[in-house]
Amino acid sequence: MSGLLKFITCGSVDDGKSTLIGHILYDSKLLYADQEKALELESKAGSRGGKLDYSLLLDGLMAEHEQGITIDVAYRYFTTEKRSFIVADTPGHEEYTRNMAVGASFADLAVILTDASKGVLVQTRRHARICHLMGIKYFIFAVNKMDIIDYDEKRFQEITKQIDVLVKQIGLENVTIIPLSATEGDNVTKKSANMPWYKGDTLLSVLENINVENTAAGDGFYLPVQRVCRPDRTFRGFQGQCESGQLHVGDTVTVLPSGETADVKSIYNAGAKTDTAFAGQALTIELSKEIDVSRGCVITKDIKANITKSITSDILWMDDNPLLLQHEYILQLGSSSTVAVVKQINYKTDVNSGDKLPASVLRKNEIANCTISLADKITAAEFTAYPVLGSFILIDRLSNMTSACGVIRNVQQLTDDDYSFVSDNIKISATLFDEYYYNMSDMKIDTAQGNYKAFTVGDTLPLKGDTYNYPQEIDIIAFAENAAIRVRHGKIAEILPLSQYSFDTQYNAPLADTRGFFINIHDQTELDKFRAEYTEGKNHASFWNKWLDCTKWRHILFNDNFWMI
């Protein structure tokens, strides 16, 4: 048995997607008696004049029945003697393209329907493009409604040519083309006597036999950390799903973005101890030494991922509101999330012709290549190399809507300019010179990025801004980088590892974190106490509320919003 196959059906509206799946279920005797009875009852009231309307099996929402269309993706589960299937039946209307993309992100294979009487339509091209974008590698083009054109071979050949052009344009591989009729059942599960000229397999037979296992997988191990498991003081495990490769007890792993290494002390697969872990498993990993690992980190072995603050990506815009350049969205990638700004639309792709067009705005259902800049550095990779580190969503901060999804085509390497403070061996990211403004249109607080230029020892710092005012003597503690910066007379006096740092009794310089928040510490004893509580407390607001004062040197101003004017 060739494993589970997840596939989608897509194509233009009325191309017969729901009918096709309904027919497979019906033919394969995969319906329960009560479902079959309900189908007969509902068909009587339906538009096919009492003949069985197989689409009714899938269109489950009331609005779908009322309008006779598919609005949202429906999942169906069936098993034949050869294989188990999950099929996502997706809507054909352009308006619901994003729901079709949801199905595509889930599938290994796409069945794209084309109406034989109409040929390849804009929506066919759009769906093929989106399937490719979402990472689908296997395609079946089902030329449907062959009954309407009297099973004409010549017409089928014409459509095959149209499909070939599309396939070349997008660069699809692994393509099968099948002539069929979903309503009449030709070449769906049974070879059609009406098309003796077609020598290929039926749709079901192709689905049953195709191998979609990713043969390229297995190079290197990576696991985005979802959470830290701490049942007591003796155990600290990192939980997440193994996305590729294998891991053994005793292996040396590198934690990104910090780059720290440690050995694997123990591995649990779904709660049971094991010596070796494989791709797909839900793991808990214990490391040999105490290093700083939290949600958003990636545990790796032999993979080429990058730490970055800037990515180039193909995105599909899914929100009713258009993309706003320079506007802040939340980017979610793997288990990390950060504030992101689309800096530039490099080009928009015409879904019909594939042409690359200049664009300054991106609307719902459009695809574009964009440069995105990130507030915090994240671990990322190209989508084709490591899918989970190369795919993301953008979330609107006001509506919380999932506004876009995207795949990374290029990851820009970090340079010193991406850091706020640098010395020979220490690089620190900070936000203490960001301005805090109350955004009158959104009624929430926005941050505007300050001016950082890889400040180093001897540089004078911009300690006073619109919305902040720091003293001339201050020590900045960078917990993520395990480092500290001493500022004296407004200049950087020293950048040093945190292990070498102690409270300065000469200047009694106050302490700030890299956000510019005052750390409520006045001597070495308090500093030691704070650091003892840090590992345990850093994920809880109560810890920060106890130790930090956000308003000592910072305040918030109203500001005219430049992109709203």
């Binding site: 309900a38 489950g60 009331m62 999942y75 049942p231 997440g240 498993q281």
Partner: protein, 297 residues
């Protein structure tokens, strides 16, 4: 290569961990049924050696099978988990019952009770054991399913859910319903119960039980609140239940399946879908969607 069940298990654990990591105040709904037994089992595995970092919640309509309540209390104790119980006391005071109040009973004692409980404790995310193979509107629901302030589901405007990037963001008062076993079928559930040796309520196994036949359904006489209608007679027959809920609303069927293997075999050959044995789903086409939009799981 992972087996089909391994993949489903890993997917569910990923989702459960994700909720624990990113949602402020999660709870796992526990209905005492087989799907809940699987969910509890997955939660125990997901966090091991830690206990699940959230409580469990049972909405008690006061009409559950007595075997179910005993099972619930014992399992909670054995696993050392927090089991919250909630009953709509207003409904109890008004004497709402499944015999006299029909659909209103389900609404008041289940849907309203659930909404009250979630509000009372301020839960921001609730795990449910819903599966997409159960019913057509469920087949369309996201894994992270957004509920507005009134706890209403808007099926026409669901957030896109790409790959396994779940968007958990909500505003105050809004919440998430999360379905980690969305992609499991009834067959998967049974095979997983067998593989993992998961304990389930004995009512799933065929046994001689006191029953009556009413409106085409086999109803077990679980206590003396079931009043016989003229002509009805209690008989003892070997029956079992495919789903468990309130005993007056849960249809049993005659069966010889008294082991897991026999149940699995029977399930594979079944000619009625699982929900057909639940009286509440038969009311009308689209009834489940309507109830879900009103806040039912």
């Amino acid at each position: 290569m992972l087996s089909h069940l391994d993949k489903l298990e890993a997917e569910a654990i990923y989702i459960i961990r994700e909720v624990a990591a990113v949602c402020e105040k999660p709870v796992m709904l526990y209905s005492i049924g087989k799907d809940s037994s699987v969910m509890l089992h997955l939660a125990l595995k997901a966090f091991y050696p830690e206990k699940p970092p959230f409580p469990f919640l049972h909405i008690d309509t006061t009409w559950k099978f007595h075997d179910m309540i005993a099972f619930r209390d014992r399992i909670a104790k054995e696993h050392g988990i927090t089991m919250l119980k909630y009953t709509n006391q207003d409904g109890v005071a008004r004497g709402i019952n499944p015999f006299d109040h029909g659909a209103a009973y389900t609404d008041i004692m289940k849907t309203q009770a659930l909404k009250q409980a979630l509000k009372k404790y301020g839960f921001t995310a609730a795990f449910g054991g819903g599966r997409r193979d159960e019913e057509k509107s469920r087949a369309k629901e996201r894994i992270f399913s957004f509920r507005n302030e009134a706890q209403v589901w808007d099926p026409k405007n669901q957030r896109p859910e790409m790959w396994k990037l779940y968007n958990p963001r909500i505003k105050k008062g809004e919440s998430m319903r999360v379905f980690p076993i969305s992609n499991w079928t009834e067959k998967d559930i049974w095979q997983y119960i067998k593989r993992e040796n998961i304990e389930i309520v004995p009512l799933y196994f065929a046994k001689v039980r006191p029953i009556i036949r009413r409106d085409g359904m086999i109803i077990m006489v679980d206590d003396d609140r079931l009043k016989l209608r003229p002509g009805e007679k209690i008989t003892n027959e070997k029956v079992r239940f495919r789903t468990l809920g309130c005993y007056p609303l849960t249809g049993g069927f005659v069966s010889e399946a008294d082991t897991l293997d026999k149940i699995i075999e029977e399930t594979l050959q079944a000619v009625t879908s699982e929900r057909a044995s639940r009286a509440i789903d038969k009311d009308s086409i689209g009834s489940m969607e309507r109830r879900k939009r009103e806040g039912y799981f």
